[in-house]
Symmetry: C2
Subunit: 511 residues, 2 copies
């Protein structure tokens, strides 16, 4: 596809769009004591105490520790002042500092880690301070609401003050919630916006605590919330250019871009690549900026061209080697992805049609329309069961929310058919449910398309409201209401509690 | 004594003399494997291998580690390049890095520390590197010849290259040894100069690894070596001004100054304060700069005035509260310090006499001469036993090297008497021997005064040469030839292997 030279041009455009981050101070406002309480999410209640009094009245010696909390989940650098208590500090001070989004990250800071992802993602540092008194600013960025201090080796006893985070982000404040909303929905709206704001750094990150990279799938969702809130289309454009500047060797847009130390591509994620035309078309339409559409139209087209190898006579037959060809769709290995991927491709072609029309490329529009039509008709013929009103996927005719949802998003089903399919699947024992909030977003979107406001609101208040009731002020990467200790990584401390793909509630509340 | 205002003036003078440190690169030049060998100092031999080959051929995964060595003990910041091996780094890298002057500091890096000094002095850091590849420069300064890398959490496997220390100091190179010296003495000379060079930072530090502060007692010894080597009298003057600018509330010059975050006094160390006139007089004489002598003459005089409370009719009777009034003299709690302290005071008065004469204060000279004479005659009467030719100290008439030495330094004994006393004490069973290299220096000085070159050279080659034979290239804070595992701090890892007070051999070889 695009040459290295052309890609460098897109990276240069991305660079010109790199935002100057704002910085602001978020002070710790309470000392917290974890209290075991099995009625609470993940079994611990954080009991707050007055921080100033606590810090004034307490000196800390080797082996002691304490935890403070912040008024909201914040992204930035931890800062504090430390001084000695008596005489003079005759030696350096060695501290362990742990930042946590959720209580167990700080409560269990001392426990061994045996999760599946690299333990370096745990937000813990051992620092050595040469001279006291000293204001310390940790060099790395963290995401959290709790900070734990452990005195490993301090000279005699030490005191702390002015514990805060130097927050950073493209935007420093939240937008007020729509006035007419009930209280819970206001909280959902604010948590959704906070999630977006905290992820909006030099690019739209998937999570400011872990991964911290630009995922194409997450970006499309962030762009939706951004449209109804901050409208920072410059950051969306920057991200699109980053994707266009870091193509995989075969020309596919990669699933994720790592920005540092220089922008480069992560892995093949074919479902995300199929959504690239959708991302591009929505961005052009919402921002009114057609330049990026002009520049990247060919690239968008090429993504679907690349995917043709996964189709046989208009039917998705892909998934042969799950390690080589990753069709993510949802965090669920059991899910048969045929119908969902058919939907992704159709959505991609539909987006190309709209984009072609926007750019005056009438012939192209007709060409993609034809391709979409073929896939739609094959889908209706092979995947849709008119008898049950349900979409079935794969050889085993698997029933899942995901299959219904993607046939709705891709307009293979009419809104009426879709509404019926979703209602039917709800009452189908054994049908695979959405696993990750990423899939829950597309369920919200599907209900929205079908005009089923009741189910939409029920999901918002039930699923997203459930996180709020469990203490969230940003939305979580993983939320299974009945499995508080579930982690895809086999350690709950590794879960991200501020994660882009969970943050689209505000879009549905505000659009 | 001097007002806060006057002290600030001295600190301002010290600031104007603050040196710009040189920086230079010292690359690791070998990978080393520790091999247990009980014939070797502290039981481990470090077997060297080719570093480039080792780093090129090895990838490092979680749990792996390696140790490199440098061509010489170096002070500065550790730096290296780290990269991932395959695919891309999907997460940060967490490493433990340990710097050691002697092998056991890195070999035993993982063992628990239960020494008496704060464990934060152990030169170990846990760092987290966000993005690979990356050149890492650790922010703190270390002193060492060995660097150990432990992979705590790395993404897959990682590679290292360009491991080095960005060295720092007032002087970047050693001076060549005097040509006519035998090989061992050349090595002693070089280790002595390297010790001085490594300690010569923004002030003369006692040890670049631990304490890292300006001790008056050590400074006098460093000034002696400096006189016959680098002749950086500006740094000596700076240190004297730092001492004059950080007086204790009673006007006593403190035992040590901590420079950071702002210069301030450590503890009372009365024997050091009594040597302040000696330090000042020698500096003025050697540098030819009388200004500092003029400015600080009153302060030097005041030190001995303050000490009068420890004397009764010209005899030192001090030591009542060892925690309040510290008379260091040597690392030996059993040592009776009466004779040594008598010697310190006399040395102080003699120095005041010389300084007064240098500055044309004839009346003052006479006054101090009279005071010195009284103390000398009392010392001869009460402490010197003409029958044995030995100096006896305290109620129990304790016999020690320290007592003989300080009666020689202070000229209470003639060189002939001193020579006889030292020879006699050598053959006196139960006489307390010098414990620390600080005391060994004064033994060298005493033999020098007595003109006993044979003993002087024997001590140089035996004691200081012993460290060389045990692998030293800088001289150690603590060296007991028969006790390789002795530490005043109950953990050998805490001992400093580059320590100012051990580094005066070059003075005697070059003066």
């Amino acid at each position: 596809m695009f040459s290295r030279f052309q890609q460098e041009f897109f990276l240069a455009k991305a660079e010109t769009l790199k935002p100057q981050l704002k910085r602001w101070k978020v002070s710790a406002d309470a000392v917290v004591t974890p209290v075991k309480d099995c009625t609470v999410w993940q079994d611990y209640r954080m009991v707050k105490g007055d921080l100033d009094t606590f810090l004034q009245n307490n000196d800390f010696v080797n082996g002691s520790s304490f935890i403070v909390s912040l008024p909201e989940t914040t992204v930035g650098q931890i800062a504090f002042t430390i001084d000695f208590c008596k005489g003079y500090a005759d030696s350096p001070s060695r501290l362990q500092i742990t930042c946590g989004e959720l209580p167990r990250e700080v409560i269990d800071a001392g426990l061994p880690y045996n999760g599946t992802l690299n333990g370096s993602w745990l937000q813990t540092e051992v620092i050595t301070i040469d001279d006291l008194p000293c204001q310390v600013i940790l060099p790395r960025r963290y995401s959290g609401k709790y900070i734990r201090f452990d005195m490993l080796n301090v000279p005699g006893s030490v005191k702390f003050s002015d514990i805060h985070i130097i927050a950073c982000g493209v935007e420093d404040s939240l937008l007020p919630p729509p006035e007419n909303l009930p209280e819970l929905l206001k909280k959902i709206d604010q948590a959704s916006i906070r999630t977006l704001r905290n992820c909006m750094q030099h690019s739209f990150e998937d999570g400011p605590k872990r991964d911290r990279r630009l995922w194409l799938g997450d970006l499309r969702l962030q762009a939706m919330v951004n449209k109804v809130t901050y409208r920072r289309f410059d950051i969306v454009a920057r991200c699109i250019y980053l994707l266009a500047g870091t193509l995989l060797p075969d020309g596919e847009v990669c699933g994720c871009v790592m920005e540092h130390p220089f922008p480069r591509s992560g892995c093949h994620t074919h479902d995300y690549a199929m959504l690239f035309p959708l991302l591009l078309e929505e961005h052009c339409r919402w921002s009114g900026d057609l330049t990026v559409g002009e520049e990247l139209f060919d690239l968008a087209e090429y993504q679907l061209k690349l995917m043709e190898r996964f189709f046989d006579n208009g039917l998705f037959v892909g998934i042969s080697d799950p390690f080589k060809d990753w069709f993510f769709v949802d965090h669920d290995l059991e899910l048969d992805r045929q119908a969902a991927m058919q939907g992704h491709a159709i959505t991609g072609y539909h987006s190309l049609v709209k984009l072609a029309l926007m750019l005056g490329k009438v012939d192209k529009a007709a060409e993609f329309n034809a391709k979409a039509d073929l896939l739609v008709s094959v889908a209706r013929e092979k995947l849709f069961n008119p008898a049950t009103g349900l979409v079935e996927s794969g050889k085993d005719r698997q029933l899942s929310y995901a299959s219904q949802i993607w046939m709705i998003i891709s307009k293979v089903l009419t809104p009426q058919e879709g509404r019926k399919a979703l209602q039917t699947i709800e009452n189908t024992p054994g049908a695979l449910k959405p696993s990750s909030p990423y899939m829950f977003h597309y369920l919200l979107e599907a209900w929205d398309i079908c005009g089923d406001k009741e189910h939409l609101m029920e999901l918002l208040t039930g699923y997203y409201g459930g996180m709020i009731k469990n203490g969230a002020d940003t939305f979580w990467e993983v939320y299974r209401p009945d499995e508080p200790f579930f982690s895809p990584y086999e350690d709950i401390r590794m879960n991200s509690a501020c994660h882009a793909w969970s943050g689209t509630a505000a879009y549905f509340l505000r659009k």
